[in-house]
Amino acid sequence: MATVTESPQRAAAPAVAAPPAAQRLREHTIEIVSDSGEGAQKCGQIFGAVSAKMGNGVWTVEIIPAEIQPPPRIPEGASGNRIRLGSAPVTNGGDATNLAIAFNEQVLLARHRLGALANDATLLIEDMWATHEDADIRAAWEQAMAELSGRSYRIVPVPMEAQCLTLVDNARKGKNMFALGVLTWIYQRDLERVRDQIAFAFRKKSEEVFASNVALMQLGHDWAAAHLDFRIEVPSAPPAEALVVMNGNEAIGLGGIAAGMELCAMYPITPATSVSHYLSEVFERFGGIVHQAEDEIAAAGVALGASFAGKVAFTITSGPGLALKTEFIGLAVMTETPLVVVDVQRGGPSTGLPTKVEQSDLLASMVGQPGDSPHIVVAPATIEECFHVMVTARRLAEAFRTAVIVLSDANLATGVTPFPRPKADEHWQAQPPDLAPVTDGLRPYGWDRETGLSRRVIPGQPGGMFTATGLSHDEGSKVAYSSGVHQRSSAMRSRKIAVLQGLLQPPVVHGAPRGDVLVVGWGSTKGTIEEAVDRARAEGLRVSSLHLRFLSPLEPGLKQIFKRFKRVVTVEINYSDEPDDPYITDENRRRGQLCWLLRATTLVDVDCWTRVPGEPLRPGAILDAIRARVSRGGAS
């Protein structure tokens, strides 16, 4: 039964005199949810950034509806942030929310129904709806309260509207800062930092907006101080090293700059677009431009054209856009023109779940191009890696003269966490193209017979004139009319991928090098999987994990590593058939995409546990799957 605290608005009791002692916790997960457009995300972002700056481990997950302005007060319209706060570094969004602040009861219901709220969660709810003049709204409130009462939630009504109206005419625009103030008090955030962060968040707005937001935040803070009887302390320590805090898409944008690239061509698509929002703000200062092309295909073509004529360029997209770019990716492979393609994955197929995380583009990114199109596919595992992968991708594209696809996802794109501040390195930067005359008989595809590698010739180089072509061609880029040329050139393009694999180190196992179960993941799930594995190991289970960054080529030595475990199971955010589902047999079972790949390349009977919940996997769910695999025991 939920305990409903008497609404302070209606309570006759005066404000509490002394602040209550804070409950000290190693971590706490907070959610701010509102209708879209009420600014809960802004509140969450500021709270997360301030917490990171105060030395807490932080991982922020966005809660995003598919529509820009869904109808108000519907569960599907829930918009906001989950912030997992820890004393130690936090690598994922965790299992359940401990404290939520909601601008109406309907958006909270959405979170409740998703199982996002811990059984004993504290729920602070705007209480204006309980006494609303519209009888339907009052009835909806009552129904929602009844539904929420099925758990042990502590429900705390908060008069957000009434309070905000004492300062502003339109409370809808102010509740987020009021909520920020309430959280600031509960979690004892540094007020000066909060004010600074508000200033940063509203840097494009007027001084009046800033002043009004600070006043609203202070109002929430003071209201909480006067009316709440609990505080929470998640102890923090000043970080040992310099940190930066940003989301994965900002990291990709900054990484592109760090790589010395000068052109990002794109077409708007969720959830990749915010990379271009960020770059559009800053790129020109760095001598770069964002080109918003007429479509996804053109975006790839512009990037390819620019790369052909000089420095490697990049294009950003998401699944449906990757599909449209496939022909150009094949052309990059065939003409051996370096190209970096960032795919911020979302749910599919087709339009799918535009704002939600999924890892379903792995196979499409590897083999989606017409013909045999060997190229490089890498996946950053953390927000920090979103930054560094761009430098790696640019360098690989250049050195191997091929397309490099970077698979990020919505979880990394919108997640916010602190990471060690990158130390700028001159080697990151692409050098201006060398336009020296071609003097040594260099041919445009002077393939090294062993490695398939060759040096690029760039327009402007005297004596190097050639026509790059998507037709099969020989070393001189002459169209292949004679037999044997296609076999040889195909081998040369393919060989490069093997050469790259030879340069990679075998991946490092997280946990013991041998055991019962090895969990293999890729992309954004690293933190979640490792947390689940650590919990499993704490329970005494012989479980380890392996996380892959290189998918094409795969990292070396996998078969040897797999042999040391009784069972190997991939954990992925993509769809796979459950073995005991109707019609499903071992032969027809459609497995997770990495699982498919690992089985094909290692001949090990790799199993998978995959889910497509439209949200990041929870460590607790992975732990349950691990327990089930261990209890089944034996070799798979």
Binding site: G305, A313, L331, W428, Q461, M465
Partner: protein
């Protein structure tokens, strides 16, 4: 031109001598069918390159897929022979990143007016300083005789054997309807002097010069434009000091229309005219903004960029 001569041109620029002969621009031997209009265009282009002394290594020909898209292979400059319909995005990337390069785009009617239509419309709007040639023979030739958007209504093909169902798309009208188009001309492969003069005007225009070149396919549309080829009175030359004037054609082509290329309304009327084929510059406006100029940013050295990166990271510092 041999390579050593190329070096000489760098060591001794602008000495007034002609460094590049026509043969210096000759690439692989053209494999188009005998009688194909593409040969005429190639000849005119090579003549233009020679006359304008374009530096081969600073010139790029970009094409898509189709008979005419083999063009870059036959010119000894840099070239990019890409995928069907997508020459313009590639050219856009090249020009945006390397405004110093002279870029020519060669497209067929399927390339430009069908599969690549979106790029055609938007490239006109970007108005990059490139020359865009539409080699329009009203048919898909490479894939063997399928109806194209510019196939005349009623004209048979393998895909529409009883004749093209729809009226042909008018590339000139479409082009003249696009905001920020800055140069639109029409010429014909069987009037080499006009073809050359038009390409020269296109090359000298600063902005995207769109030139529709009327062609016949000797195999699939040999009788296209036959009336006009046989009867010069069916052709009207648009003349203006700001357009194309070819005195040697005055005897053959008696119908001359004084047309000021700044007059967009008149240009649109001419594009729609069905009585005669109008050759010449329909529209030209040098004041239209050019995308590569609008997007030009001060270059940064690696050191500058890394220093700025460090400042940028300060904004995210914990």
């Amino acid at each position: 031109m041999t390579f050593s001569c190329g070096l000489l041109s760098i060591l001794e620029p602008d000495d007034g001598d002609e460094h590049y002969a026509l043969s210096d621009y000759e690439g692989a031997r053209a494999r188009w069918c005998p009688g194909c209009g593409d040969h005429s265009v190639l000849t005119a282009v090579q003549r233009l390159l020679t006359a304008e002394q374009l530096v081969p290594e600073q010139t790029v020909f970009v094409s898509g897929i189709g008979c005419s898209s083999r063009f870059p292979h036959y010119v000894k400059t840099y070239g990019f022979h890409g995928i069907h319909g997508r020459a313009l995005p590639v050219a856009t990337g090249i020009k945006l990143h390397r405004p110093d390069l002279r870029v020519f785009v060669v497209m067929g009617d399927g390339d430009c007016c069908s599969i690549g239509t979106a790029h055609w419309i938007h490239a006109l709007r970007y108005n990059l300083d490139i020359v865009v040639m539409l080699l329009d023979n009203g048919i898909y030739g490479l894939t063997k005789n399928q109806t194209s958007p510019t196939t005349p209504q009623g004209y048979p093909s393998n895909t529409q054997p009883h004749g093209s169902f729809l009226p042909a798309l008018n590339p000139l009208s479409a082009t003249l309807g696009v905001t920020n188009a800055s140069f639109v001309a029409q010429t014909a492969e069987w009037v080499p002097a006009h073809l050359y003069a038009t390409l020269k005007a296109a090359h000298r225009h600063r902005g995207l010069s769109f030139v529709r070149i009327l062609q016949r396919c000797p195999v699939y549309t040999p009788d296209l434009f036959q009336l006009a080829v046989r009867d010069p009175s069916r052709i009207a030359l648009l003349v203006h000091d700001d357009g194309v004037v070819v005195p040697e054609l005055e005897k053959v082509y008696a119908t001359q229309v004084a047309h000021d290329p700044r007059d967009l309304a008149a240009a649109r009327a001419l594009a729609e005219a069905t009585d005669r084929i109008h050759l010449g510059v329909l529209f030209r406006d040098v004041s239209r903004p050019r995308y590569e100029e609008l997007r030009r940013v001060p270059p940064r050295t690696s050191d500058e960029r890394l220093a700025l990166l460090d400042q940028e990271l300060d904004r995210y510092a914990v």
